[in-house]
């Protein structure tokens, strides 16, 4: 199982409790989460499935490399953090 944790800033807008899911890539992990919480999808990725510009995802403390396909591998026992990047406007 992989633990998925969402930024508090996101919880203000949409239902996204921390979860434990199974998946081999960031994409697979997120799809499991989105299946449970469909509204969350549009807050994290756009309609192309690309990570939103000012969002960031960390696997065990390491920022993911592939923001488009979300292909970075995830291991059982990993922690995935979905955060907002310190970029963007006022």
């Amino acid at each position: 199982m992989t633990a998925v944790v969402f930024t508090q800033n996101l919880k203000r807008h949409v239902d996204c409790p921390d979860m434990e899911v199974v998946g081999e890539t960031v994409r697979e992990v997120l799809e499991r989460v989105f299946a449970e919480h469909p509204k969350l999808r549009g807050y994290v990725v756009d309609e192309r499935g690309v990570l939103r510009k000012h969002m960031s995802i960390f696997i065990d403390g390491r920022q993911i490399a592939d923001r488009e396909e979300l292909s970075d591998p995830v291991l059982p026992g990993s922690e995935v953090y979905v955060m907002q990047a310190l970029s963007g406007g006022a």
């Binding site: 549009g42 756009d46 309609e47 192309r48 690309v50 969002m55 990047a85």
Partner: protein
């Protein structure tokens, strides 16, 4: 009772009452970036566009005049076909993804139907009060569309949607910057309507190309639908022949600005809010004024009573001027958080608030 929806960088503010009695009575989404809000008078619903930045653009609807809101769908673009040439002005691949919502208008041919203008230049329609959206492909696939570019923003935006009171299947949209387009068949086909407009920011031989025109705001006269007014990047234009042609007009102290409002029953009466110029987007000599014509643009009056006349640097964005159905009440809000209303067509203005966040849109419900 007059109700005004005021969309700002840090929330939605509801103003009730006219002239001196106008007060902020309610708020919603405080802290969030509300870029546009409006009512659909047919069913009384209110719509609010939120741009969360990090989390994208969202659309909310209220069926109880702002007491509660539900998130509905936003328009989304289809996947870009493999190999499709669509580059922006920097030569980068244009992303087919909703970057912003800049216009929302009831589609008058069906209950609950809406038109939505977005960045990067897509027009969408909902037949179910925003629960789902369809891209109007004939406009998106028009050969000139890939040449539309951002006017002041990185992406082209459909900001004005005029649904013809004579026939709701006839719709005019204006694009910054991509011209003025009309469909007469509810979106199945489109033609450009920019004859007479001139762009000064391209080489001279391209100055009259439709896709190069940067209308900042276009409105259609409800009482004489063959009359349109346009605040263009290059000045003020008017059409009195149902968009066969446009004629340029000149207002003092300036013809540069963003919004325009037309009187609901007098097609020759319209209001503009001038800034100094493209290069200096602030009031001239620090004086906030509104210009009004009652003779189709032959002459303009400068309205300043009740407005700050020294060291004021308010800019009024294209959606931040609104006129009520009575034709006497108007309201406008500024980039520096000032909100003013009038009950006598602008002869006297009353300040409603001075410390709001930057105001993006003002709409009478």
């Amino acid at each position: 009772m007059s109700t005004i929806l005021v969309s700002t960088r840090k929330g939605l503010f509801v103003v009730e009452g006219a002239a001196k009695q106008a007060r902020i009575t309610r708020t919603a989404f405080v802290g969030d970036n509300v870029t546009l809000a409006r009512a659909d008078r047919r069913d009384g619903s209110w719509y609010a566009v939120l741009d969360h930045g990090h989390f994208g653009v969202k659309l909310h609807r209220s069926d109880d005049r702002g007491a509660t809101w539900v998130e509905v769908a936003i328009p989304t673009y289809p996947p870009k076909p493999e190999g499709f040439a669509d580059k922006d002005m920097w030569g980068k691949d244009r992303e087919w993804a909703t970057k912003g919502i800049w216009a929302l208008e009831p589609a008058l041919d069906a209950a609950g139907a809406l038109w939505c203008g977005t960045m990067p230049g897509g027009l969408f329609r909902s037949n179910d009060r925003g629960q789902s959206w369809q891209l109007i492909e004939a406009l998106w696939n028009h050969p000139t569309r890939v040449k539309w570019n951002g006017g002041g923003a990185d992406h082209a935006a459909i900001h004005s949607i005029c649904v013809d009171p004579r026939d709701p299947r006839s719709v005019v949209v204006a694009v910054s910057s991509g011209g003025v387009w009309r469909t007469r068949d509810a979106g199945a086909s489109w033609t450009a309507h920019t004859k007479g407009m001139v762009a000064g920011y391209v080489p001279p031989e391209q100055a009259d190309w439709p896709e190069n025109q940067d209308p900042h705001c276009v409105v259609q006269s409800p009482s004489a639908p063959h009359v349109f007014w346009c605040q263009h990047h290059m000045g003020i234009w008017r059409s009195t022949d149902d968009l066969a042609s446009w004629q340029q007009l000149h207002a003092e102290p300036s013809s540069f600005g963003f919004p325009v409002a037309v009187h609901p029953r007098e097609p020759d009466t319209a209001w503009f809010i001038p800034a100094h110029s493209d290069q200096k987007r602030a009031p001239i000599t620090g004086e906030v004024v509104v210009t009004r014509t009652r003779d189709g643009g032959k002459t303009f009056q400068i309205l300043r009573e009740g407005l700050p006349q020294q060291h004021a640097y308010d800019l009024v964005f294209r959606h931040a001027l609104s006129i009520a159905d009575d034709g006497d009440q108007l309201a406008f809000g500024s980039s520096t958080g000032n909100l003013w209303v009038t009950a006598n067509q602008g002869d006297v203005w009353h300040s409603v608030a001075n410390h709001l966040p930057p105001i993006y849109a003002v709409r009478y419900t």
